[in-house]
């Protein structure tokens, strides 16, 4: 119940502080342009598989949204409350830490979900002229949503570590890009190491989804990242009881 109170307050502050509008607008400009570019490319090189290929290219490009825009959404979650001292009111109110974390996390996830939902315009436009296969498209959206869910959890955790929003966003970008690139050193890492890195890097699982494959492994992978980072957030909030302040 208190979780919903926090969620609705967070949502309101996203939209009253304009952050949500700015981030969504930026996203739609870049996403719209990339969709347009790929669409033109597929129409020019006739013969390419529009049904899967267009979505594969477009969504591969859209990964920029979770990796670079989500840190801008998550940076304020805890850092702002710490800076303003309002965290002290939450910590001394009859609220569980978990309610605070989930309320904030879900508010950010909803903003991100709205952002993605607005791009449904693209398949709707395509559907006017061509037939659109829902399966691969669904996989693409699910992949982007899950990737975002993991990134938001990561950003929530980083934001709980500092009271400086800029630091929170920069560190989140760094962590996310590292997690994304983790398996890019195939040339030098041993085969066993690469096998592990493939499993834990953000990119490998995402590529599955945009190929139109919904792999349980990948779903579980992203969900475990969400749990992992939210768990770390809870630990980070609990450090106040260690007397470190």
């Amino acid at each position: 119940m208190t979780m919903l109170t926090i969620l609705s307050k967070e949502l309101r502050s996203y939209f009253s502080s304009l952050i949500a509008y700015v981030v969504i607008a930026m996203f739609l400009i870049v996403a719209g342009y990339s969709f347009y570019t790929y669409l033109v490319m597929f129409l020019t090189f006739v013969g390419a598989d529009l049904k899967v290929g267009l979505w594969q290219y477009t969504f591969h490009y859209l990964r920029f949204a979770p990796l670079t825009l989500i840190p801008l959404l998550t940076m304020r979650l805890f850092a702002e409350e710490k800076k303003m001292g309002t965290i002290e009111l939450l910590f001394t109110a009859p609220v569980r830490d978990l309610d605070i974390i989930l309320g904030k996390y879900c508010a950010c996830l909803l903003v991100y979900g709205l952002m993605l939902a607005l791009t449904l315009l693209y398949p709707a436009l395509i559907a006017l002229y061509f037939s659109v296969e829902p399966g691969p498209l669904l996989a693409c959206y699910l992949g982007l949503l899950l990737l975002g869910a993991a990134c938001i959890a990561c950003g929530t955790f980083v934001s709980s570590l500092t009271e400086n929003q800029i630091v929170a966003s920069i560190v989140t970008v760094a962590v996310l890009l590292t997690l994304w690139n983790l398996d890019w050193n195939e040339g030098v890492a041993g085969r066993q190491a690469v096998a592990v890195l493939h499993q834990i890097s953000l990119s490998e699982h995402f590529l599955n989804f945009i190929k139109g494959v919904i792999d349980t492994d990948s779903v579980v992978y992203y969900l475990s990242l969400v749990f992992f980072f939210l768990f770390l957030t809870r630990c980070s909030l609990a450090t106040r009881t260690w007397g470190l302040k």
Binding site: T2, G85, L89
Partner: protein, 317 residues
Amino acid sequence: MPAIEVEHLTKTYGSARGIQDISFSIERGEIMGFLGPNGSGKTTTMRILTCFFPPTGGSARICGHDILEDPFSVRRSVGYLPESVPLYRDMTVADYLGFFAGIKGIPRRARAAAAAEVMERCGLERHARRMIGMLSKGFRQRVGIAQAMLGSPEVLILDEPTVGLDPRQIAEIRDLIKSLGGSRTVILSTHILPEVSMTCDRVIIMYEGRLLAVDTPANLVQRIQALPRLYIEADAPADGLAAALIRVDGVRAVDPAPGQSGSSAACILETEPGAAVTNDVARCVCEQGWTLRSLGPASMTLEEIFIRLIDEQEGRA
């Protein structure tokens, strides 16, 4: 059962000491003042009582609930205004109070009424729809107090509720706090002496993390003034004034003090207990042909009171 019972509370931050072996109890309906300079452990004590962080040692019970075993019940029975008066500046007063009503578990339907009630109590009705960031410091302070009062908690803990306000606002906040006495238990902290004597039923004096005294303001003033001190100011050479006054019977020590104007010299006199020396001091100044500008009991600064109390305690020990 007392509203607040604190036993041997201790908190250390790494190697730095927060508070040390604090014990006291507060009855229901009492207004208790925490008096002490900055860094004396007032905020630390309040943060422990509000379950912001746990103590390193000792225990405390609020309305019968232990802060370590049942922090949720403690939080439900306590309203807290932190020293920094944290507020969401991009919210309106009504939204802010509505949000905290929800956080405090007030059912959705009752939230607006609860917010309206505390707004009326704190004189905020006309500002309900204003952004908190646009309010003056005094009104923001009231929003903070209104937040603490939401849901009628049995205990109110207010950390420096009047700091940074102008005298008129201080008087208003003081009246508000006084009006709570009797029905609620209130702890408020301050480093201003008159504030405590005007608002509080009893005072806890803290210094460097230790509890120096728990008493009524009247008793404390009496204890402190057991050693009478006089302030004197006259148009005289500073050395001459001190040299003349130390010879007066009943004057134990003379300390130079800053005078009100440049041309005059001033001293603080420590006199023998029970000795009536005022007449002799005045005569001494007049006999020298100096103009007496001021003579009366010396007011003590808070620092001096603390030093007095520490001396008193160590002398006893």
